[in-house]
Symmetry: C2
Subunit: 335 residues, 2 copies
Amino acid sequence: MSQDKVLLHHGSGGKQMHELIRRVILPRLSNPLLRPLADGAFLPYTDELVFSTDAFVVQPIFFPGGDIGKLSICGTVNDLLMMGAHPEYLALAFIIEEGLALPEFERVVDSIASTARKAKVTVVTGDLKVVQKGAADKIFITTSGIGRRISRGRLSAGNVEPGDSIIISGPIGNHGMAVLSCRQGLDMELRIKSDCAALTGLLLPVLRQSKGVKCMRDPTRGGIATTLNEIAAAAGVGMRIRQKDIPLLSQVGAAAELLGIDPLYLACEGNAVIIAQKKYAPGTVSLLRKHPLGRRASIVGEVCASPKGKVVLTTSVGTERIVDMLSSEPLPRIC
Amino acid sequence: MSQDKVLLHHGSGGKQMHELIRRVILPRLSNPLLRPLADGAFLPYTDELVFSTDAFVVQPIFFPGGDIGKLSICGTVNDLLMMGAHPEYLALAFIIEEGLALPEFERVVDSIASTARKAKVTVVTGDLKVVQKGAADKIFITTSGIGRRISRGRLSAGNVEPGDSIIISGPIGNHGMAVLSCRQGLDMELRIKSDCAALTGLLLPVLRQSKGVKCMRDPTRGGIATTLNEIAAAAGVGMRIRQKDIPLLSQVGAAAELLGIDPLYLACEGNAVIIAQKKYAPGTVSLLRKHPLGRRASIVGEVCASPKGKVVLTTSVGTERIVDMLSSEPLPRIC
């Protein structure tokens, strides 16, 4: 933070964002419920609830496989699921730029409605603000959600221990690549669709039936590289992953190579990283594979005692490299 | 909606906003919990909870008497109180424009922290996005909140009946006039401060002790004129209010006259409209007056059977006029 300004990379989900949060937010607002900085917070009511919020600023607002409306529902539904909760109620706050075409707004709300219906969540309250032309970019949506915890215990990075298995529920990087290809005008050629999906159907059976699940995260901004680094840092453990086992669509891999981007850093919006006790991991993978969104679920690596806080990738050619948290080129407004 | 675009007045809290919500949102998302379109929604958990969300886009972000950080806490805390709930947990989502000075961001978070501390609410989760320069205006904050209902029954406009008394807890229009004077560069001359305040201390005693409270609303965008019209429409009743009884600071009245604005339409951010059974109204006013923020609480009028859905003002000179919902000049980004 050499320049005393908030910069694009502060919002990219990687190192600089964590630094900004640790420098500005935590010293002022820290409390035991906020401190884990997870996808949501546990609220100690009679029913144990989970509370989560996310602002969606994706650009463009319509992209292959989704739009800001669908994303704004899936993102928060998935965050609740990652905390082990059954997603139930959502609140939506719209910030709209003056001049947004009404049919575009209607299309976004249509998408919100059909996604919420499929994910079986209810939008119970909301807000709508309009700002002058140029004071926002078309439409931003903040979705907050509440769900009831159904996982046996509280899922948390703090539960993760050496020996645990790392599972990824589906092919990585589709969302990030779909949005990027759209921005580059390559969407017609590459035909890559965002994986944007509410994971309710995929993950409720895991939350209800799987034993040994310790932590779940959706690898959005910063991709699985950043998510695994966050878990490793929080748990004080190392992670070893194998490139050959990480599900990746060939066209996403090819496009990433073309654009010089590591797919490990590309956002996923319909994918879960699941850390499970080793003996229960194969059962969890079988359960995931029963659902269309989990057909390619795989165990991609193991948690290890060292190197602490680091993620080590064994590449397809057998070499090893450290996979750091996203810290280079920011990919702004990917979600 | 002759032009097929979202326009500034769609966000002003008045007629056009209601029209937009009824045309775009309700047909797609309506359900029994959303339908009342109140300041929040009741969630049927074992503890009855209230869930509320608000996007804050005020411009300028620092104004006399407050800033966007303070406002973003007070606004949601007050919405929860209006629903009869004890505000407990908040979630904050920041959308920051690239280039925001870090000291400004720190000042906003300082203000959030001290306001939350005073209002005894805990920020438990959040999100932070950064968009390119020109894609937002400095900083937008969406605050969602959860509280536990402590009012005897559910407060709702639907409870309001002819014969009930209309109470206003403090002087009207201070927030709207403070922001406007600041925009006009008149803040040093007019020295009007926003009333921006969390009403927890003022209203918890009312929620706990007052009998006969039927409905509470905070008259933000569109002012008390719009709030009273909303209640009148929802309850299918008329309202009669007396100008002479409506608390108004002389400098706010003078500035409103100077700028040609009716203070009834100016946003309040530390004020409550309370509809109470007539026999209990004086007791509620006495209770309000015990608190510094309620010193000027007054009964300003009565609910009547007709004219249905209308608000009639008896002016200080004894004439009568219909006070409509805000529908003219929008005052964008007042909160």
